[in-house]
Amino acid sequence: MPLEKAVQDFWQKAQIKDVSQIVLSLKGTQTVLKKRLGNAPAVIVTEGFEHWVDMNLPTPTQQFTLQPKRAISPLNPDLIFGLHERMDAKGNPIHKLNEKELEFLVSKLKMSQVETVSVCFLHSDKNSSHEVAVKKYFEEQGFQVFCSYETEISGNERERWLGAILNGYLESTVKDQIDQFHSLETMSPLRDKVVISTGQGLQPLHSTNFFSTLLGDVYLHSQVFLSRSSRSESLFHFGLEGCHLLPNPKKLQSLCLTDLGYVSATSPKHKVLSWSFTQPLKTLFWGMGQQVKESIGYEPGPMCFGRGLQPTLLDLFFLEGLLVEIPAVTEFLNKKCHSRIYDALSSMIKDLKQEFLDKDLLQSTLRLALFELASEVSLISHPVFSGPLAKAMKLALEKHYGLEGIQLIEDFQFPSLAALKSLKGGSLK
């Protein structure tokens, strides 16, 4: 459905009359980062450390392999420049900046038509003067500049540098998403009322921390939870794609784990679960269909939508009849897919020396898929579930693992703006 129509429909259904503020949470940032759809900024680092970011990229595989791979870098190696500057471990300058070198860099970047620069120097958390000076110089030349000292100081250089780099990387695509929203007919008259949800809270558009928009939904969920929670509870949010856990919504964390490693960024304490409804099933070591880490999303999507070719976790829920009362997915379900999905599950176990009945195969595959999550939930004394697929998950865990006492938030009421907590000093106040 086009965005314009979706917003108009929402406006009509909700019968919105007066608007004091619009909070925008951008899910697209996650997709941009995951699929590497951003724009590599020019990166200026302390000379001698041009490869340092790439050298520390994590490897996705946890097993010994002769063809290892690192996470795909967001950087363009032709746009990484070392600058002759250096601070010592106490923040004392060892090598000072040279304006001629900056001049040369500016001309090089202009020739490459680069507009965004990330500045990453060692020990800038102790003495940011070099980064500040370079930022000022480049801004005067018309560049958009992000510095590592501007990210959370809690991290070491790897985490701070990634923060500055990812702000540069995501800048244009986040701005594009906001512009697209602003250009909608319904939204145009309300542009000055829009704020962005980030991991650190609500921010006006002009001073948005672009990387932090990735954590906007975590912040919003924590706010909803805090406004209703009177006990020490943990919130599991089951979205249509990703799922996360807020073990203690009052606490904050200063590092965000991404597939590029830890990035300096504050947000409510949370854990992104390694479970997603669009994870496909493949035959793994034990001969059973089990989910693999990478989700396939909704294009083409699960088999129960009539388009996908690989069975996913959502398909297992479909076969179990757990999606019947879930408005977010019901209209997309193709009720004729049952036998196709069962055939796909059966073909996964063809090498096994023991037979399964269809019903047992479904039960076993679903129990295997749910175990890790069930284990996580069973450790928590007062688990609360929210999200479009929360009800289905609650039923599944009750049935297959006997987990009782899970509370459900069906009515996700956002608190008033006055009630929103700000982030200060390590916790939500």
Binding site: H51, W52, M55, L66, D88, F285
Partner: protein, 497 residues
């Protein structure tokens, strides 16, 4: 319950239990590993050996913990402590319905000495010793170890923290087994091992049947690593008969088992858990007294680091000869290690990762240790805050990978300036030959280490040694690249293999 389903579920239980550990294992009372979460090759073979040795001498009750680091009792290098806890898992309502297993984990400290004549010089050596009994730490014992001159820094706090983690893991394991509804009886554990073995054999059987052998000279004419690999229908035999003793490289037999297993698994391109069932697909023959089955008091640091990488690299070369589909060039295997001891116990240790070999379909990855699972290098800022050194530069060593149709991965180069006088010790393990290319691919650059004092030219160091170093001296480390695969202009000449 279908046995494939119950085995897969048990595997998930084990994986969840060890999720928060960097390196850990669950082993049954027969010494058969149920699940090994390994960080390196040595972990794979030594976890079961450590558990078997300690249970032979010490009977542990539920929750009790033993500590050891002796490599000749199944430990790893002496700077790595192994902790082993007994867990009694109930599977029925009666008091006797209990299956005991062992949870083992490791606490790694910075290695101290890399050139030594005897294992006793490499650090404090601890045989299997109870450290946690009746719900209490043996603080007196911890204190005694702490006061030993070779004891690592922060020993006591790190061990106590690890014990807390083990207690949590034990509770989680019991909770998860109950949640899974799999009866945790000895009979079901045997079925788990047998199912794993059946599945592993079906994967190993994809390797072409055949045999290959090689001799690797360590630079000294009398020192040879001899290996014959025989691939049978669903099993692989690694025969090290004729391997000689060595003056520099000494490996324990359990570490060699780990090296062979890890190397074999890396050739399979399939995700396999590490357990006894999988390990039953190999036999490893190591003659006593040779470098691959060293005896006390031989020093083991180089053997259990570079030595296991050399064994793994040799295994891969031979499997590539037996099954040409799995042929790759040679990766750099020496860690290129340095350590500097300063006054007041400040100690700097560094080892650089080598380039990875190229294969038929892939260029080699630069600066990557094939045999380590955690690749996070220490933060430059943190190192400079803690020690009197400045890291001048660190990056990929340009053009050190072997050229070819597929280029070998570049090694790493690092320049360090020492800010105070100290004692430098370094090691590049033998053999000193370059990592070879294959099928026309070129060899890579070997590892090398230099010293440069202000105003002087660079001085290349021997492979292994120790000397004093002055403030403002620079240490320049270059790790090896990976060998190239195929001739550079293969596409234009139309040659095929």
């Amino acid at each position: 319950m279908n046995r494939y389903f119950s085995s897969a579920l048990l595997n998930q239980v084990f994986s969840s239990c060890l999720a928060d550990f960097h390196s850990a294992a669950l082993v049954d009372t027969e010494g058969q590993p149920l699940y090994i979460k390994y960080q390196n090759l040595t972990d794979i073979g030594t976890y079961p050996a450590a558990t078997a040795t300690s249970s032979q001498y010490i009977k542990l009750a539920d929750g009790e913990i033993v500590i050891l680091n002796d490599p000749y009792s199944g430990g790893a290098i002496l700077s790595t402590m192994t902790l082993i806890m007994a867990i009694e898992v109930p599977f029925g309502p009666r008091k006797i319905d209990i299956t005991p297993i062992y949870l083992s984990t490791r606490v790694a400290f910075k290695p101290k000495t890399i050139n030594s004549e005897s294992v006793e010089q490499e650090g404090i050596r601890i045989p299997p010793t109870p450290i946690y009994q009746n719900g209490e730490m043996n603080l007196q014992l911890l204190q005694i170890i702490n006061e030993h001159p070779q004891c690592p820094q922060n020993f006591s706090d790190s061990i106590q923290s690890a014990v807390q983690d083990m207690n949590l893991a034990s509770e989680r394991l019991k909770n998860d087994i109950q949640l899974s509804q799999v009866k945790f009886s000895k009979k079901n554990l045997i079925e788990f091992h047998n199912t794993a073995e059946e599945r592993a054999r079906s994967i190993v059987s994809e390797i072409t049947i055949g045999e290959a052998l090689t001799e690797v000279s360590l630079g000294n004419a009398n020192e040879k690593l001899c290996l014959k690999v025989e691939v049978l229908e669903d099993k692989v035999i690694f025969d090290f008969t004729k391997t000689t003793p060595s003056k520099t490289l000494h490996l324990t037999d359990s570490a060699v088992i780990g090296a062979c297993t890890g190397a074999l698994l890396s050739c399979l391109n399939a995700e396999l858990p590490m357990n006894a069932g999988v390990m039953r697909c190999l036999d490893v023959i190591t003659p006593k007294g040779s470098m691959v089955n060293a005896k006390y008091p031989e020093s083991v640091f180089l053997g259990l680091t570079d030595g296991v990488a050399l064994v793994a690299s040799t295994v891969i070369q031979l499997i590539g000869e037996i099954d040409p589909r799995r042929k790759i060039a040679q990766s750099g295997f020496s860690q290129c290690s340095v350590e500097v001891d300063f006054k007041q116990n400040a100690h700097y240790f560094e080892s650089l990762e080598s380039g990875v070999a190229a294969s038929e379909d892939y260029h080699g990855l630069p600066g990557f240790d094939l045999w380590k699972r955690s690749h996070l290098t220490p933060s430059v800022e943190t190192v400079e805050e803690l020690l009197p050194i400045r890291i001048v530069s660190t990056g990929y060593r340009q053009n050190s990978g072997g050229s070819g149709h597929r280029k070998g991965g570049d090694g790493v180069t690092r320049i360090i300036e020492v800010l105070e006088d100290g004692q430098l010790t370094w090691a590049i393990s033998p053999p000193k030959s370059k990592p070879e290319g294959v099928r026309g691919g070129k060899a890579a650059s070997p590892a090398e280490i230099f010293i440069q004092s202000p105003g002087s030219s660079k001085e290349k160091l021997n492979l292994i040694g120790t000397r004093s170093i002055k403030a403002k001296d620079h240490i320049i480390m270059n790790s090896a690249g990976g060998g190239g695969f195929g001739e550079l202009d293969r596409l234009t000449t139309g040659e095929t293999y």
